[in-house]
Amino acid sequence: MVDALYSKPRIAAPPAPARNRLWRLLGWALALAFLVYLPNVLAHRAAFGVRLTNTELLNLGLTQINLMLIAMLGALSLNYLTGCAGLISIGHAAFYATGAMTAAIVGTQWGWPFPLALAAAAVTGALAGVVAGLPSLRVRGLYFVLSTLAVHHVIVFVFLEYQFRFFDVVGVPFEAPLLGSYELNTPTRWYFFLLPLVAVVYWALRNSLNTREGRAMRAMRDHELAAAAAGVNVRILRLKAFAFSSAIASMAGALLAYFMSNVTSEAFGLDFAIQFIAMIIIGGLGSLGGSLVGAAIWLLLPSILSGLAPQGGDASGWMGALLVDHKPQLVQAIFGLLIILLLIFAPGGVAGLGQKLKALFSSRGAR
């Protein structure tokens, strides 16, 4: 039984006529222009000289966008592991913590430059991933999920001990990172560093899925015994998927640490891990593009919702009490409900919905 949660195999579309290609190029150019101009708009709260209100800007700021980009790395890597390789893991926060700890050791303590710290974080992340993936050689399904939970607790405990032993009580500090002589000390600079990074990771993962190994992974996800029977070395492949995915997550953890300039172990709790699962489910398991959308929705939607509700200062009555005293709880409740509705009615996530919309518009319907 093919689970509707995974994306359907795609049949290559026939080559588009020249006129459509021009439109698509134009679309890409516009999107690129938008992405490049966005930080300017958000930093100055104005577009082309016209001042924009907070509501028009959807209550968003550049810090939020940067945090979203870092989270996208996590969502992409988790979707690679879970949606494409079929390994469900709630240990992603632990890999972020691994990256942060590595960056703390080599960056803050040993003084290595920022790019080297990122590389070191990727390496330790890969190692941690292999270790976390080892139980998969013995157990499957739910038991494996629980083993990732156990790994999560172990790694976070190690980070906590590390934080208390070597650093001041309120967290592990990080200096503003230097790329050569270019210092990443404003949100705009971070944005222009993170955006291409996310694009590179996305392309890397997508290309890796189109290789022989990538297809073998998807075969392993769909039916493990059949894949093994067809000659796929399932054990090694699983560990490779884990290593790749955790390396990216660990690097993202190092980025998060430098961006926040101070991290504590509380930042890597179970909530943090669960939010990545939420992102990939919203986006659609197996769809890398969907993870990007899922990360955007998860991180930006609460702010947007919060901004649309009135910032009532003196509202009275039960409506006022709800909106003023309990607005954050209201936003949480709406959010949880949205996830539930999405899970029940749109199992393919946003990617699934997107495919349905495309099918609605395409002329393939008129046969």
């Binding site: 039984m1 689970d3 509707a4 949660l5 879970t82 469900i88 139980p135 013995r138 157990v139 499957r140 399904g141 739910l142 038991y143 999920v145 629980l146 083993s147 939970l149 156990a150 790994v151 607790h153 172990v154 405990f157 015994l225 179970l270 669960i274 699962i277 939420a278 489910i281 398991l285 709800l322 309990h326 709880q329 209201l330 949480q332 409740a333 959010f335 949880g336 409900l337 996830i339 539930i340 899970l343 029940i344 199992p347």
Partner: protein, 288 residues
Amino acid sequence: MLAQVLFSGLALGSIYGLVALGFTVVFKATEVFNFAQGMLAVCGAYFAVTAISVFHWPFGVAIVFMAVAAAVLGVLIHILLIQPLAGRSMLAVIMVTIALSIVLRAVIEILYGPQGRSLVTPLPSGVITLGGLRISELHLTAALVSWACMALFAAFFRFTSVGLLMRATADGHEAAVASGVNVNAMNRLAWAIGSLLAAIGGLFLGQLQIVSTDLESIGLLALPAVVIGGLQSIPGAIVGGLLVGLIEQLSASYISPKSTDIVIYALLLLILLVRPWGLFGQRELGRV
């Protein structure tokens, strides 16, 4: 003193066992790993607070109210959330229970505010001295009630026809349907029982400290209990809960209080690697 530590470990372990048992009942029947079990315990505690502190009903009536409300909540959850997701992947179901705990938490905080509420009950709160041991009457009551509940449900599953039907449904879904069993009703009953057990656990926890949404963390402790004991085994859940309680107290006393989490999760990892089906569970056969 070792005896003191052992006793409080067993008392707390009984409460964990209760929550773990609710967990296992739900899992056995509907194969759902209910991440919201801790939140159901909190809901139970708040039902009790509502009945006692808001409606000012006598204790007996309050308990009945709590039990009925918890059971109804369990049934509603099955109808609204679990049934529509039948046949879907495990990740989807896990996520829906997580989303459920988010919604429940937010609703409780809107209705009652984030401050804790104290639970005023006629449950005994004194101390019994036995030799050199000082035993809290509340701990003792909690342990006895938990044991009574567990024995009651074990008997229910073993000796009543409804219990037998539930076990049969859990063991073989299609066979049950073919035999004309109302599988949905059985599953709803399982959820009602699971929620009720969690509520009783929540009541005692709330009495031991204070009723707030932070009690949710009890669910996370029930998890290792269930796995160590065996995911599909009812005696396993009980034994697992007791073990977790004992290990927690022993490591808090003899190693350090913050080591309890790591010891339990390291043990969990070990069990998953060596004997994943737990102490009492049965080895699962993989079918092609």
